[in-house]
């Protein structure tokens, strides 16, 4: 008897991610949600530039590879090409979404574009070999901040959920992590809600997933999880930053 299967929305292609990388977990969560909502046939995913650039090989739905940071603009086009029949999600890292693509992110949120954004924040540029990201922590050592990120020199990390929560536009913003089982389950709930919101026509939902990069952090996977919990979650607190529909319900 089969008790554990690969979600249908994932292909059988072996993933290229490093040992201990959490992308695999988040891919699986997204795929499980697509399966459970029965939307694979109408879903179009947008892959970023960065470690998850080849996500187009891993999801069974139609996929588009966007230019660096432009996924929310591409998603806008795909969604508006056929709003009734397209479910559109982007899958982006911190460099892609919060640095080069910040304008596209903010404006898609401001327009309350009816799309779902999965944002992986691991505080580093992984694919290019570990450079300072817009979300790298103060003091964090990377290839381009070899003496530790100095806020006097290059400013402070960007808290995306907090920033976007000031906008009138977006429907739903939540920060989760996949650092342990309890949080994985919570992350899945958030991702499911982000897709359900789109199905219900509620608008822009972004789920920020606080994640690790054992390879470029120079840590074992377990050590990286510990570092995430001690340092990342202190700067990036988990929680719901905006939920317009829930707020409306409460107001009643």
């Amino acid at each position: 008897m089969v008790v554990f299967e690969k979600p249908h929305a994932l292909t059988d292609v072996p993933m290229h991610y490093c040992p201990g990388c959490l992308h695999g977990i988040v891919h699986r969560l997204v795929a499980e949600v697509i399966d459970e909502l029965g939307i694979e046939g109408k879903t179009i995913g947008i892959a970023p530039v960065g470690c998850s650039v080849m996500a187009y090989n891993y999801f069974n739905c139609d996929m588009i590879e966007a230019a660096h940071g432009r996924a929310p603009a591409v998603a806008t086009g795909v969604k508006r090409a056929d709003p009734e029949n397209h479910i559109v999600f982007t899958y982006q890292g911190d460099g892609d979404l919060a640095s080069i693509g910040m304008a596209e992110t903010v404006h898609a949120a401001a327009r309350n574009e009816n799309i779902t954004v999965i944002f992986i924040n691991n505080a580093i540029y992984g694919m290019t070999g570990g450079q300072m990201a817009p979300t790298s922590l103060p003091g964090q050592v990377t290839q381009t901040s070899p003496y530790g990120r100095d806020p006097k020199l290059c400013g402070y990390p960007v808290r995306v959920c907090e920033m976007l929560s000031e906008l009138e536009g977006p429907e739903y913003l939540e920060r989760v992590t996949v650092a342990d089982v309890k949080n994985v389950r919570n992350a899945k709930k958030a991702i499911k809600k982000a897709f359900q919101n789109q199905i219900d026509g509620k608008g822009f939902s972004l789920i920020e997933v606080v994640s690790t990069c054992p390879t470029n952090w120079g840590m074992t996977p377990q050590k990286a999880i510990d570092w995430l919990k001690e340092n990342m979650l202190a700067y990036y607190p988990l929680g719901v930053y905006k939920d317009r529909s829930a707020a409306k319900e409460e107001a009643k």
Binding site: T11, V53, Y56, C61, E65, A103
Partner: protein, 355 residues
């Protein structure tokens, strides 16, 4: 004959795009092409289409990328500085073999430049505009009627060859008003089985992509793409010849420069100089054949341009430098008048091709 409507060039492009079945337009305000956006903003909501003012030209071209991926006719328009911003997107569109229509109503540059007409984006347009090996089909209208007709042609060619078509106009073409006949025939978009419209669980997933990390594979994509370009060169090159049968002096120009040059050619004929004109309508593919033919007969070529001399390089290549090619130009938003072109024709006639 059909009724004609008095329209600005920019409006003719917008109306023709709607006639061509384009229901998605994304743009960002920039002079002198903003009438296109204004027209679309008014019309699209009334016909079930989408007009969206993007946060930047970069976002606009990527929205185009999204709609093109979904298999629908889509366009954006801008002017020179804005088209530079679209360069990244143009390269990705080419790399992913997506059809779309881009309009550049050129203004003087470089930098912020000015807002008056120019043709100084010729290199950018005919050489692709972004990084990597690729071409766009570049169409150069010389009347408001052609602004409309070439817009439709642009959509059709884009779909046929899975390429980007660019309308390379200029501020004059965009702003001037002429009567236009809009009873235009359109070939509907072909089936696009490659488009990402959802698998409906009926087929393997489609992937729109320009990444290939295996050099042998990427090389093959490039060679295959250029095979396709060869067919475009063979089948789709367009030009107009004017009084070239017995011409000694060949003026060449496109867009507004061709309008000016035609007057100068007429005047030169009145003065007994056998002048003629070749007007490229496709700038890529460049009409090499008529130039190669003319190079065996005419004494001198004159390239009339609103730039510091860009198309002149293609004229020299097309004529294998068999005869002298001189430049008659204005730049920075200035337009040569027929007098200037006439003087260049007279000087060429006097030199008799000896420079």
């Amino acid at each position: 004959m059909a009724d004609k409507v008095l329209m600005k060039g920019n409006e003719a492009i917008a109306e023709a795009a709607i006639i061509a079945g384009c229901r998605h337009y994304f743009g960002y305000p920039i002079t002198p092409q903003t009438e296109i956006a204004a027209y679309m903003a008014k019309k699209m909501p009334k016909i079930g289409g989408v007009f969206l003012q993007a946060e930047s030209e970069i976002a606009a071209i990527n929205m185009v990328y999204g709609v093109a991926s979904a298999g629908k006719r889509v366009m954006t328009s801008s002017s020179s500085p804005g088209v530079s911003l679209k360069g990244e997107g143009l390269s990705y569109l080419a790399g992913a073999d997506l059809p779309s229509l881009i309009v550049n109503v050129q203004r003087g540059g470089p930098g912020l430049g000015g807002i008056q007409p120019s043709q100084s984006d010729y290199f950018q347009a005919t050489r692709g505009g972004g990084h990597g090996d690729y071409h766009m089909i570049v169409l150069a209208p010389a009347s408001v009627q052609e602004m409309a007709e070439l817009t439709i042609k642009g959509f059709e060619l884009a779909d046929t060859y899975r390429m980007t078509s660019m309308i390379l106009a200029d501020g004059t073409m965009g702003q001037m008003m002429e009567p236009v006949a809009l009873d235009l025939k359109v070939n509907p978009a072909p089936e696009k089985p490659w488009a990402t419209t959802g698998t409906k669980l009926q087929r393997e997933h489609n992937i729109i992509n320009s990444l290939s990390l295996i050099p042998e594979e990427l090389e093959k994509f490039n060679f295959d793409r250029y095979e396709r370009y060869k067919i475009v060169e063979e089948k789709e090159t367009m030009y107009e010849e004017y009084m070239m049968e017995d011409a000694d002096i060949c003026v060449t120009a496109f867009g507004i420069a061709a309008r000016v040059s035609k007057n100068a050619v007429d005047e030169a004929r009145k003065r007994g100089i056998k002048a003629g004109m070749i007007r490229p309508i496709t700038l890529w593919p460049f009409p090499v054949a008529p130039f190669a033919k003319a190079a065996d007969k005419v004494k001198e070529f004159i390239s009339v341009e609103l730039s510091m001399g860009q198309m002149i390089e293609d004229v020299k290549l097309a004529t294998s430098c068999k005869r002298p090619v001189t430049l008659c130009n204005r730049a920075g938003g200035m337009i040569p008048d027929p007098e200037q072109v006439l003087r260049a024709i007279e000087a060429a006639a006097k030199n008799g091709g000896v420079r």
